[in-house]
Symmetry: C2
Subunit: 194 residues, 2 copies
């Protein structure tokens, strides 16, 4: 995502301008009154647009916060790990590598969004649902390289859970870099790097 700290970005087409307006209004309202108390219609109105238009840009209200492009990167990073590693370590190390590649300037925008998610139970559920797709792709990759499907599923799920838990902790405080936070989180479940 090309957002800057306030959620806006340099608009090219009209579509992108509306998108930016919606995201800006959404983040503001969510932070001020909470996610549940904010209505899709209200966000749309604030952005000078109709409710219908909101749903043309986001399939669900939650997608305003959860639409991220990191998943393909993650999947690729896991795939790039040596096939000889056992599934669990492959997943851990892949996730580690993927997030190290994240440009630091994007961190404030991510923190803002994740913080809202971390504080809203229904959004945590949505986050997990969206992570589910990433999970499936990682499992596919591991299984294609010879892992047992059930072990692969457990590995992917627990590593992603650790990642998300680390993300939440990082977002709730105001200090530290994302990369460090994720490294620390993965260290908890990955005692020995062999």
């Amino acid at each position: 995502m090309t957002t800057s700290p306030d959620g806006s970005f340099r608009p090219r087409s009209k579509r992108e301008r509306t998108l930016a307006a919606l995201i800006g209004a959404g983040l503001d309202l969510f932070e001020r009154q909470g996610y549940e108390a904010t209505t899709a219609a209200q966000i749309a109105r604030t952005a000078g647009v109709t409710e219908m238009t909101f749903f043309r840009h986001f399939p669900t209200k939650a997608h305003l916060l959860l639409d991220d492009p990191y998943d393909p990167v993650l999947i690729a990073a896991v795939a790039a790990r040596p096939r000889a590693e056992r599934p669990f370590l492959r997943a851990v190390n892949g996730v580690r590598a993927a997030w190290r590649a994240l440009p630091e300037p994007e961190e404030p925008a991510i923190r803002r969004r994740v913080r809202i998610v971390a504080r809203t139970p229904s959004l945590r559920g949505e986050m997990w649902r969206s992570t589910g797709e990433t999970e499936r792709s990682i499992v596919e990759q591991l299984v294609a390289d010879g892992a047992a499907p059930e072990a692969a599923r457990v590995a992917a799920a627990s590593v992603l859970a650790a990642l998300v838990a680390g993300l939440y902790s990082w977002a709730e405080r105001d200090t530290g870099t994302l990369t460090d936070a994720i490294d620390d989180a993965l260290d908890v479940i990955d005692v020995r790097h062999d």
Copy 2:
């Protein structure tokens, strides 16, 4: 839960009789037409009752499947592990112990419900949301005994994710006991039992 394989149980009061009717109708309909395609009103009608009555028994449609009483057991089991264990192992071993205590006769009913959840993305999200409460309790316990909050959060989240992944795998096949499935799942993330 005191349900038998078909989701029914010996009814005492009128309330329990309606509850049983709703659960029975719900499971049947979910299995036949899928969760999303089944309406709360339809379940209610099938159970010979009004939509309003449905929501008097279950706060949400998902609760018909996710209302389980296992969480307190789980929390207690984690608490029972020696305080000297590091948080991650305490969580792993606690979860292991908790599920070993499950009476086998309940397995078919659990399998039926979990199978529906496993096949419905939105329910996987709901499951995670409901697991979130368990997670918080486990974290509280670990932190009260001296663990770092962030490590405790990661430990609880990833162990529960492994547990749920194991549950899903088990429910999707027709063989094996729940206890074994969960042990296998936890083995994936817990290499060395020290």
